[in-house]
Amino acid sequence: MKKSYWILLLVVIIAVGGYFYSTQQQEVVEEPAQEEIVQEEPAEETAEVVNPDTFTEVNMGNIDSLDPHFQYDTSSAEIVDNVYENLIRFDKGDITKFVPNLATEVPSEENGLIQNDGKTYIFPMREDVVFHNGNSLTPEDVKYSFLRALIQDRDGGPVWMIYEPLFQVGSLAEVTQEVVGVENPSDLSAEQSEEVYNYLEQAVEVDGNNVVFNLPQPFPPFLSIISQGNGLGAVIDKEWTIEQGGWDGQPDSIAEYTNPTKEDDPLFDKMNGTGPYELVEWTNGESTILKRHDDYWREPASIPNVVIQMVDEWSTRKLMLQRGDADIVYVDKQYMSQVEGMDGVEVIRGLPNIYMGAGLMNYNIVTEGNPDVHSGQLDGEGVPSDFFSDIHVRKGFNYAMNYDAFVEDVLEGDGQQGRGPIPEPLLGYEEDSLTYSFDLEKAEEHFRQAFDGELWEQGFEITILYNSGNDVRKLAADMLKNYVEQINPDFKINVRGIQWASYLDKLIANKFTLGFIAWGADYADPHNFAVPFLRSDGTYGGFKGEDYISWAEENVDPVIDEGISTTDPDEREKIYKDLQSLAYENAVDMYLYQPTAQVIMRDWVEGWYYNPIKDPGIYFYDLDK
């Protein structure tokens, strides 16, 4: 009896082993046969478009909010872009050229709609535009929309972008502080609210059929900021919004409507715009269904229905693309090889992406209770708080990164090394500007000079963190470890992944050492990159420690301020080039990569064009299949 156990186990093992062995064998033998099958299918498919009346995009993740003034992520922006409209839009993805949208003309000095040395913008409004619920668009709606955005200004939201040109500040809180001395807008009394409202109101005025914006100072990227694709400039229907329980349009109610949570925001899951598509149904994390707006002021869209599905599992997305159930799918860079050569599928790579991935160095690491600096001293067992304050350390790290390998292997060639905070093709970017290259000799040279040679003798140990799940950042950190440790056997780098929660905490508490982060364009202007990376109070600049902040206040901030108040493009270009080389000379950050984007779609999709500002969002109006 017992013998049969042995025999059976053997049989099971042999069967399992044999199966995989034989499938391996079969692969070789069957390959030609399989290819035949593969070639047959698409021949039918290309001839016959699957679901010609519905355009299906398959993406992943969640949509944050459908409120155009609340959302600040690409997935939400895509829906908003198709349902709501702004005054002007880019000419089919050309970010240097505007065309009218809800306005009938694009303001310029030449047509006299930009006046007052670039401080007044006049938008004549289009008539006969209707919202999805049938209401007509009025200039009052435009004014209401901008004021609602300004009043709502939720924490962590996008509205800072128009506070800057309109009021030269960053938030409603700064305005209330300035006007009535109240720190938190939710604490405003009715009278204070009216006072603040009056202050806000003078920036956006209705004049007959025109909407007029008054800027305190010239601000060259203003048109770019309020252009289509940026939800904060989207026009909503005043009457309808009030019906839904949104801001009542009254001057005294700011406290009640400012900074809502998602559950308090009536437009979180409802939409009513003037755009080519209207919202039918939204199930977060699953799907968004849009249908054509038949009373659209232009020709109605050619595809009647749009479905945006959220599928997190890559294998499912892949299958949907293969079968033609999906017209466009999101593909992570690492799986590109799996779609390359798929029949009936068009892959476009190398699309310019206005994005900068960089390594941030903390000039004053908080060492207390921070295991990542180890001993916290320059004793070979750790790093001192001001480790990265030494320019030679920063330069040493900058020379120790293998940029070419990163672009070739990690990005699979889809990108380029960063040349400073400003990416291509923005003003200030230069193809041949000075930049760091992978050069261990130079790295050694600088490490030898750091801390007057003491660092070289003592050595150091440091931990670089990345947020787990982010393979690209882990790879970058691993590369640094690999090369820096080759320079001197006493140099030691640990790479540790931590959860996003702890990563965020480290960043806020100034306990990170060197961290990889990225910035994607909010609008197409170098100002949008110079500020977060370099300015002393920028999103990233502000986290780089006291030494950096005081240096930047003196050397960087004035240049940035000059750049944004100058209207002449040639002069501006020169200023941003200066900033770019300032960042290089001082090795402020490690500007690692600017990736290119890609799009993967069925080859029956027509009319697609790339819009670098909206990537990867798709504007369905121009598509057909």
């Binding site: 156990y5 290819e35 294998s315 990163f406 799940g469 393979d471 959860q499």
Partner: protein, 291 residues
């Protein structure tokens, strides 16, 4: 039944012998890991070395006999050092949680009444959250890392031992020899330890050997979901998570990346199988119903 007798029978039973042989094999691999797969950096042997920076897995070749995963982690190295990780998780988690379970269960049953009621309700509370969810929450909070995974597993896995122990003790407690010991005036601790625990331990041991496998599975599930071992740490579950997005292969060859899934999958399954075979045989030997 005596220990010696049990072990003798385990060795005689072909099935459990097979299990024992697999475990021996894994033990050898774990012990000689530094010789089988010499680490690049002796300070951090658990970090799987990378054979390059490319994202695409590479099939088995001369240098990497099991191939590499995405990000070029050496699968062979990961399997070898992952064996140590598996043993560490299994032994530490099962050991400590069994100890906690035995103590809690014994105390509850021995003292009974109010103490029993409180302890068992706490046990109920811990059992009402699905194990895997509870551990995901806890590891997310503690942070990635094998140590934290073990803490989370221990925190949420002592309850079944406690319940089993409690029912065992309750039935033994009524036995004559315990009653006699009480009558003779032996103190609490001696009674508990000498008579009750020694007389009730076998079912707990069976359970422990079965749990070796399931704890290793849960730990690797956590790694698979991305909250367990840190990226690049030698852990079987993580190696499988590297395979997750490659299982459909490439156009025309769906099994192109089979090695990323099958090799680590086989390691973890064999490991659990061996413990379960032993546990199974153990149970058969000790189950009076079958004798």
């Amino acid at each position: 039944m005596e220990w010696q007798e049990v072990i003798k029978r385990l060795l005689q039973n072909k099935v459990s012998l097979f299990g024992i042989l697999i475990i021996l094999f894994f033990i050898i691999v774990a012990v000689f890991a530094p010789y089988i797969a010499p680490p690049r950096d002796a300070d951090e042997p658990y970090l799987i070395p990378r054979g390059g920076w490319s994202i695409q897995p590479q099939p088995p070749n001369e240098e990497y006999i099991f191939g590499t995963t995405e990000g070029q982690y050496d699968i062979f190295y990961g399997i070898v050092w992952g064996t140590r990780t598996a043993f560490r998780i299994g032994l530490v988690v099962v050991g400590i949680s069994s100890f906690i379970g035995i103590s809690v269960g014994t105390i509850a049953a021995y003292y009974g009444g109010f103490i029993d009621e409180i302890i068992m309700r706490i046990t109920d509370i811990f059992m009402s959250i699905p194990f895997i969810i509870a551990t995901i929450v806890f590891v997310t909070i503690l942070g990635q890392g094998i140590g934290n995974v073990m803490i989370a597993l221990i925190t949420f896995s002592w309850m079944s031992t406690a319940r089993l122990m409690r029912s065992q003790v309750l039935s033994v407690k009524e036995d004559e020899f315990v009653q006699a010991a009480v009558a003779l005036g032996a103190n609490d601790f001696r009674i508990i330890f000498k008579h009750i625990i020694l007389n009730t331990i076998f079912p707990v041991v069976i359970q422990a050997s079965m749990r070796m496998g399931s704890m290793v599975i849960t730990a690797s599930t956590l790694s698979f979901l991305g909250v367990g071992a840190p990226e690049g740490y030698a852990d079987w579950g993580q190696m499988i998570s590297f395979a997750r997005n490659w299982i459909l292969g490439v156009e025309g060859n769906p099994l192109n990346y089979w090695y990323t899934l099958v090799i680590p999958g086989a390691a973890i399954t064999l490991f659990c199988l061996s413990w379960n075979l032993i546990g199974d045989a153990f149970r058969d030997i000790l189950d009076p119903k079958l004798n």
